[in-house]
Symmetry: C2
């Protein structure tokens, strides 16, 4: 399974990356803005959100191509959030995935605008692409946009980022930590699963299962992030290990200890997989993808 998962991840990553640059507009866009958008969009990464969209379509035996615009839109939103998070006024990071951050390469003003433009393009990409695709009902398109906006905006990812910034240097309890991570990381994963569900015409019980799976792996993703910050390999991670402890940042290991964090992680992955099995999706790639969230080393 590890070998076939590895192949699966490589194939799907290549498939997604083929579609990302063509999904940007170039004609009529100032060259520096376009280059800045492309730079961050193509700077690597796990492509987990688009991969989940494709895996849902696959699981429900629908054509993968149908998921491409929504998958690319999710990756654009994820990318814009990283560009803005790295800004001097936010986390002030110079490196991202071992490369200079967007504002280090292009300057702060361009980085802000590239983020704004990627966020805007995510929505227009969905609207334009599905308007021209007879396989997807306009109502489905509107639902996708409502879902994405809710999970990416003030009630979702942006809200999580705000809470994270406000929590810096404060003693957070587990409830506050979970609020931050559910929104900052989990919500966009849930959007991937639910959006995939809309596109694949999932029935109500499948939709509930996909949503629950999304919440579980989102939560698990963050626990594993925190664990890797304690005992990961700096080279594989591309960032410093121990930085959370140095900054006295609230994390799962700092609040629960490493052992209990690992137990929670295991339980969440089991819960995610059980939810899928209950609606007959135990043979889909979503099962090994849940394990991947737990077992990843970067």
């Amino acid at each position: 399974m590890v070998d076939s998962l590895h192949t699966y991840l490589e194939e799907k990553t290549a498939y997604i990356e083929t579609h990302l640059v063509p999904a940007l507009e170039k004609e009529g866009v100032p060259a520096s803005l376009y280059e800045s958008m492309k730079y961050s969009l193509m700077a690597g990464g796990k492509r987990l959100r688009p991969m989940l969209v494709l895996a849902v379509l696959e699981a429900l035996e629908k054509p993968l191509e149908r998921g491409v615009p929504f998958a690319c839109a999710l990756e654009m939103i994820h990318t814009y959030s990283l560009i803005h998070d790295d800004l001097p006024a936010m986390d002030d990071d110079d490196l991202r995935r071992g490369k200079p951050t967007n504002h280090k390469m292009f300057g702060e003003a361009t980085a802000i605008l590239a983020g704004d433009a990627l966020l805007t393009r995510a929505f227009s990409l969905i609207a334009e692409s599905y308007l021209a695709n007879a396989d997807v009902q306009p109502t489905t398109t509107v639902k996708l946009i409502a879902e994405l906006g809710k999970r990416a905006g003030a009630t979702g990812m942006v809200g999580g980022q705000m809470a994270d910034i406000e929590g810096e240097g404060k003693k957070l309890d587990l409830t506050q930590l979970e609020y931050i991570h559910q929104h900052k990381t989990g919500d966009l994963l849930v959007a991937a699963l639910r959006g995939g569900g809309y596109l694949a015409e999932a029935n109500e019980s499948q939709m509930r299962a996909l949503t629950h799976y999304g919440f579980c792996i989102g939560h698990a993703f963050q626990i594993q992030d925190d664990i890797l910050n304690v005992e990961g390999d700096e080279k594989q991670l591309g960032k410093a290990v121990g930085s959370d402890a140095d900054r006295e940042k609230a994390t799962y290991p700092s609040l629960l200890g490493l052992e209990e964090s690992k137990q929670r992680l295991d339980a969440l992955i089991t819960e995610a997989k059980t939810a899928l099995a209950e609606v007959g999706l135990q043979h889909s790639a979503l099962m090994p993808l849940a394990d991947y969230v737990k077992n990843r080393t970067k």
Copy 2:
């Protein structure tokens, strides 16, 4: 007409402002983020973009309420662009409409996130609201979102802002100046007109006329802005007169002279009104609104 236009503007501004705050989400949003979004959204302004949406619906005898979500979304996008433009890395402004800019009130990180959240909310507001409104076809909603994204993003407003920043301190010719202003200012006005047209079920010739009117008043708006920066009243404008000349910024008066700029302004307003008259819309409020763009003193 001046008196009745004044009443019209007051009534419509009040109507729009009643709907803006309820269009934000509050539940589940960190309080500081919500306050920051509300602060800039309610900091005044002409509400020109939402007003144009309502005027199109009125002109084509459709219920105003149908335009409210799209009108509020436009104002959110306009507001986010002002918040981000005022940031230290961009124009570095301390005051906006006589009040402290968002980052002066809430800090830079919150201002960046409030902008991101307003931009995201614009799209989810349209999607959610029209999904629940049987008067608006889902296809229309998808068209509205495609239109808004195209005019607000890299090919539109964000592209214009990028070109503006890159043009600073350089000698621009009229073509470059017009590129900047068409995108930075004009495109969102065009989106208001065309979006209004979609919502009002305008026919093809009406749609062409509305689009042309939008381009003309967008262009006129910017010429008048430049003229006011030469001979306006600082108190009414709420900003310093002569700042463009001090910064050696390319403007219509600096490239064409004041007289020719005024002639162009007149010609554009006439062209905008003629376009409407040709499709039988000579009695709509869009006619005095075109004059307002020319005659405004702030």
